[in-house]
């Protein structure tokens, strides 16, 4: 927490009161999500307690959260530096395919199960890091916009996966990895424990380290950050490598859970991950760290998905709900700000009504 005021002073509003208020507001968002999660869980439990609140359902929810939750975390990191990562699913699939392939080949060559698992995991995460490095290089050095870069690399990574697998699924994981996807500790699946650990590590990286601070500053204002001696490529490359590694971790969970991997798995996760990241409090224009928020938002959306599924609502309706939540977050925030502005407008008539788009972020902070 010691870093928080520094982060905000870097945003431009150097006064500490605004910084302190911002911390409260950020936690307000987190607490709001927590309250939302609890109320969603309560509502569906009241509708059908025997099914929704059963141990089996809770376990199945906990099993489904980590994959897309980690992808949302990757998007959230990219958004902190005012970017976006659309290649998350392709990276996860590529790393999952490597793990499945190496597991089979390694076992066939008679290596020990533990050895194969270790190499497969290190290789899988490294692939994520390399993919992230490619994204970061194209964005920082070739100066291509993040959305276009990751749209293209999404296709490239997916293309590599298809070319390698000939479009077929890759099967096979080692014994320890299969157990990891299946076993529980204290009644909670191991994959969910891994998710929790990754969330905490990424949170610590973004809040406590030099890199995290520089990312936040770079996202808040590139010009200010560069004038303070932070180099753009340094931050961007690292941020996308981190995002790539988180996506690869999602790939590890996916291959452990399903014991297979394919190039076309989970294409609908891209949008879901962005929805979760935005719902979790990430700002697409950068400068806001929302890691815990993203994790909570993933939980909220999975609670809703499971509830709708229980009530026999089609997946298409769930898609509509996802979209409504995504735009709803902005509409509610906008209306709240408008009411807030209307009040301050009464106090200060001279203030212009039409606020320029690019300055919306700064204005929001002055109002807070």
């Amino acid at each position: 927490m010691k870093n928080e005021p520094q982060v905000d002073s870097a945003n431009g509003g150097s006064d500490t009161v605004a910084g302190a208020l911002s911390v409260v507001r950020r936690n307000g968002n987190t607490f709001g999500l927590l309250a939302l999660a609890v109320s969603v869980a309560l509502i569906f439990s009241l509708i059908n307690p025997a099914v929704y609140a059963s141990g089996l359902n809770v376990k199945s929810i906990a099993l489904s959260i980590p994959e897309v939750g980690l992808m949302a975390l990757a998007v959230s990191v990219a958004m902190t530096v005012a970017g976006i990562d659309l290649s998350i699913v392709a990276v996860a699939n590529l790393s999952a395919i490597f793990i499945a392939w190496y597991s089979r080949v390694g076992i066939e060559q008679g290596q020990s199960s533990a050895m194969v698992t270790a190499v497969a995991l290190v290789g899988g995460i490294s692939i994520g890091a390399i993919c992230g490095l490619i994204n970061g290089f194209v964005i920082a050095k070739l100066k291509v916009a993040p959305i276009l870069t990751t749209l293209a690399t999404m296709q490239i990574f997916m293309g590599i996966a298809i070319a390698l697998t000939r479009g077929e699924a890759a099967y096979g994981v080692t014994e320890p990895l299969a157990n990891f996807g299946y076993d529980s500790f204290l009644g909670i699946p191991l994959v969910f424990w891994l998710f929790t650990v990754v969330v905490l590590v990424v949170w610590a990286v973004m809040i406590k380290t030099k890199f995290g601070l520089r990312s936040t500053m770079m996202g808040a204002s590139r010009m200010t950050a560069e004038y303070s001696g932070i180099t753009y490529p340094w931050v961007i490359m690292r941020a996308y490598v981190l995002a790539g590694m988180i996506s690869a971790a999602a790939g590890v969970i996916l291959v452990a859970r399903t014991a297979s991997a394919s190039a076309d798995y989970g294409s609908s996760y891209v949008l879901l991950a962005i929805t979760i990241a935005v719902l979790g409090g990430a700002n697409p224009f950068g400068g806001r760290v929302a890691i815990i928020g993203a994790a909570l938002a993933a939980i909220v959306l999975q609670l809703i998905a499971s509830g709708l599924n229980m009530m026999g609502v089609s997946t298409y309706v769930y898609q509509i709900v996802q979209g409504l939540i995504l735009v709803g977050v902005f509409v509610v925030a906008f209306e709240r700000k408008r009411i807030h502005d209307a009040v301050s407008l009464k106090r200060n008539r001279a203030k212009s009504n039409e606020q320029p788009f690019i300055e919306a972020k700064e204005l929001e902070e002055t109002h807070a």
């Binding site: 976006i84 194209v138 070739l142 100066k143 291509v144 916009a145 959305i147 276009l148 870069t149 749209l151 293209a152 690399t153 999404m154 296709q155 490239i156 997916m158 293309g159 590599i160 298809i162 070319a163 000939r166 479009g167 294409s267 949008l271 962005i274 929805t275 935005v278 697409p284 224009f285 089609s314 298409y316 309706v317 769930y318 898609q319 509509i320 996802q322 979209g323 409504l324 995504l326 735009v327 902005f330 509409v331 906008f334 039409e354 320029p356 788009f357 690019i358 300055e359 919306a360």
Partner: protein
């Protein structure tokens, strides 16, 4: 700096001025050279593939992409990004066919207008979120994409319609000419006409110039008296209208209606527009460049099979071409930004 200039005098400079003269407003010439280079590769590797059938195939596969790219071009020039247009397109096309089938009515021209109108209505969703709620355009269109697609599949229909109403189907079978073995459908005409109209609108109308102004610098546009939200509303309504029309073109050309098509092709269309010189940060782009971009993408897609490349490699190759094309444009844009500054400073110095 002066030493560098001195050594590069002569041939390089001559080439530089020539290049400056012919590179086009949006680096269209670089794109044209890329297209020629690709054709050259095909001519060397598989010369028999270069025939009129090839041209016909490129036109046929490019026409729907171009129809969708026109609406997207407006959005991108204004500094936005849209991923909802394929959802709007297929919603409009499929809903119109469903309507015609359920009422048992037939027609040839008016279904296109109905589809365009449905597209306009759906486009108003984007307009609302972007102009009224000032959402980031990518996020807004991601949201509307799933909402529109969800409503289509949940409430309109999720079945494959294999036969179109007969008059509409007849249009799908009408061709204006044949290029080799490949018939060129009559729908090429309205799409080309639309492209010309849009090009004229962008160059010569107040609204067209306002789109560039908003994309170039929103704040400056506002200060010279352009009503930014009103321009944005018109952009997204028009983009929706064009997407709806494109959806109907797609349905008629493919001669069936499937609600699962088009969504997922947005990357190719975005790539075509951006490669065509529209700047992702806004304020730049042209219909001419977009046409080149569409031709390049169609060319790559159509030539891979002819060059005997296994279909497993297609996505990878298309992705690489997209990345290269986008990177060329990004590099050119950033070089230009630098060059302008140097020019200004030398003028001041002299």
């Amino acid at each position: 700096m002066s030493a560098e200039v001195a050594t590069s005098l002569g041939v390089t400079e001559k080439f530089g001025t020539l290049w400056h003269k012919y590179k086009g407003e949006n680096h269209e010439t670089a794109l044209l050279l890329l297209i020629l280079a690709l054709l050259g590769v095909i001519a060397i590797v598989e010369p028999s593939a270069l025939n009129m059938t090839f041209v016909g195939d490129i036109i046929r596969s490019g026409i729907v992409t171009l129809a969708m790219a026109l609406g997207l071009l407006l959005v991108i020039i204004s500094g936005g990004m849209d991923v909802s247009f394929p959802a709007i397109a297929i919603f409009s096309g499929y809903a119109t066919i469903t309507l015609m089938n359920s009422r048992g009515i037939d027609g040839a021209i008016w279904p296109f207008l109905v589809a365009a109108f449905i597209g306009l209505l759906l486009g108003s969703l984007n307009a609302l979120f972007v102009a009224r709620y000032r959402m980031e355009t990518l996020i807004a269109s991601l949201g509307t994409q799933v909402i529109i697609r969800g409503v289509l599949l949940a409430f309109i229909g999720s079945v494959y319609i294999s036969t179109l109403p007969s008059q509409l189907d007849a249009i799908g079978g009408t061709s204006i000419m044949r290029l080799g073995n490949s018939p060129v459908n009559v729908l090429v005409v309205p799409v080309i006409v639309l492209a010309f109209l849009l090009s004229w609108m962008l160059k010569h109308t107040m609204f067209g110039r306002s789109i560039y102004a908003v994309g170039g610098d929103r704040e400056s546009a506002r200060r010279v008296g352009i009503r930014v939200p009103s321009v944005q509303v018109r952009i997204y309504l028009l983009a929706g209208l064009l997407a709806g029309f494109a959806g109907m073109v797609h349905v008629v050309l493919s001669r069936h209606a499937s609600p699962f098509e088009l969504v997922g092709t947005e990357l190719n269309v975005i790539a075509a527009v951006v490669i065509g010189g529209a700047l992702d940060s806004g304020g730049r782009g042209s219909v001419k460049g977009t046409i080149y971009g569409v031709v390049l993408i169609s060319l790559v897609q159509n030539s891979l099979v002819r060059l005997g490349i296994s279909s497993y490699w297609h996505i990878l190759v298309v992705g690489l071409v997209v990345l290269v094309g986008v990177a060329i444009q990004a590099q050119a844009a950033s070089r230009e930004a630098k060059a302008t500054r140097i020019l200004e400073s030398t003028e001041v110095a002299s």
